[in-house]
């Protein structure tokens, strides 16, 4: 039996919506990921613990991307793409990354410590938060639990009311 890696559905809060740009200049809305399990990773290039987790996330993206899962990285580097692009290339990152800012961080409680990682369920609610270096197994278990859970967007309950997915 797996340990509980995610909060019960009834206790989850909505993941705040944001709009940021990826390395190609394309606009990314968190809402674009609705219906998927999302691992939202706040990181920085100068953060040692982040460098441990990022290869895990690359592997998780590869293993689960066809199962309704996606990793979205949010870089908190002040220097922007100039430092982030070489970093992503060095680590062979295969998932989408955007550059965050103070406003994005504030939406998610300040994100003082890096890495801070949010596991978001298919209906856009935060199912787990990991502050600092976490265990790979915790991430894997959490992702698996969410992928196995019936999606509120596709199960018998019908569409999620707009209020339920509105950012807080």
């Amino acid at each position: 039996m797996r340990a509980a890696s995610v909060k019960p559905a009834g206790e989850r809060k909505n993941a705040p919506e944001f709009t940021l740009k990826d390395g190609d200049g394309k606009v990314v809305h968190l809402a674009d990921y609705r219906g998927k399990v999302v691992l939202l990773d706040f990181f920085a290039t100068w953060c040692g613990p982040c460098k441990i987790e990022i290869p895990w996330f690359t592997e998780m993206e590869r293993k689960n991307k066809d199962k309704g899962f996606a990793v979205l990285g949010v870089s908190m580097d002040d220097e922007g793409w100039e430092v982030v692009k070489p970093f992503l290339a060095e680590l062979g990152v295969n998932y989408r990354v955007v550059i965050g800012n103070d406003s994005t961080a504030q939406l998610y409680g300040g994100v003082d410590a890096l890495p801070t990682t949010f596991l978001i369920d298919q209906s856009g609610k935060i199912a787990a938060i990991h502050v600092g270096l976490a265990s790979k197994k915790d991430f894997e278990d959490g992702i698996q639990q969410l992928l196995e859970a019936p999606s509120p967007l596709t199960s018998g309950g019908g569409p999620v009311p707009a209020l339920a997915v509105r950012p807080e």
Partner: protein, 149 residues
């Protein structure tokens, strides 16, 4: 060389953060004299900051830069010897500072310095981590009072 005038107490720039700079003792010297300011630094227990010569290029070094030195010239910093510490997130030991240490600023009193007091002002940039997480780089203001005799 002129010795500092007074012992210092930790009072300067101690706002919430992972590193605090104490108040350096006032330095005093005549024109053209070499003076050294000892700047006490404390890193919060359970945290470390990268040394001035971090183990990897991607790490942000501790760095003190002067924005205004008044009647003092130079200001080259002598950093203490870092320690090599192994952390959960690092494969190899990292060059860091922990606990209490001093930075030493090396000045020369300008040849045309007017007699009297002044303050050299700078900024200490640091980037702190615990064993599991890292925190955004911050800067702390550093003020070194001096007296030209």
């Amino acid at each position: 060389m002129v010795a500092p005038c007074l012992p210092s107490l930790f009072a300067q720039s101690s706002a919430a953060g992972y590193l605090a700079v104490g108040e350096p003792a006032k330095v005093a010297g005549t024109r053209n004299a070499a003076v050294q300011a000892k700047i006490p630094v404390t890193v919060r227990v359970g945290y470390h900051v990268n040394s001035n010569t971090p183990s990897d290029d991607y790490l942000i070094p501790l760095k003190l830069t002067w924005s205004s030195t008044g009647a003092l010239e130079g200001g080259a910093i002598t950093y203490p010897k870092p320690s090599l510490e192994k952390y959960e997130f690092s494969e190899k030991p990292l060059s860091v500072y922990t606990g209490n240490f001093d930075l030493v600023a090396n000045f020369k009193v300008a040849a045309n310095a007017p007699a009297g007091p002044g303050v050299a002002v700078g900024k200490l940039k640091y980037q702190a981590c615990s064993n599991k997480a890292c925190y955004a780089p911050k800067t702390v203001e550093v003020s070194v009072p001096y007296q030209v005799q």
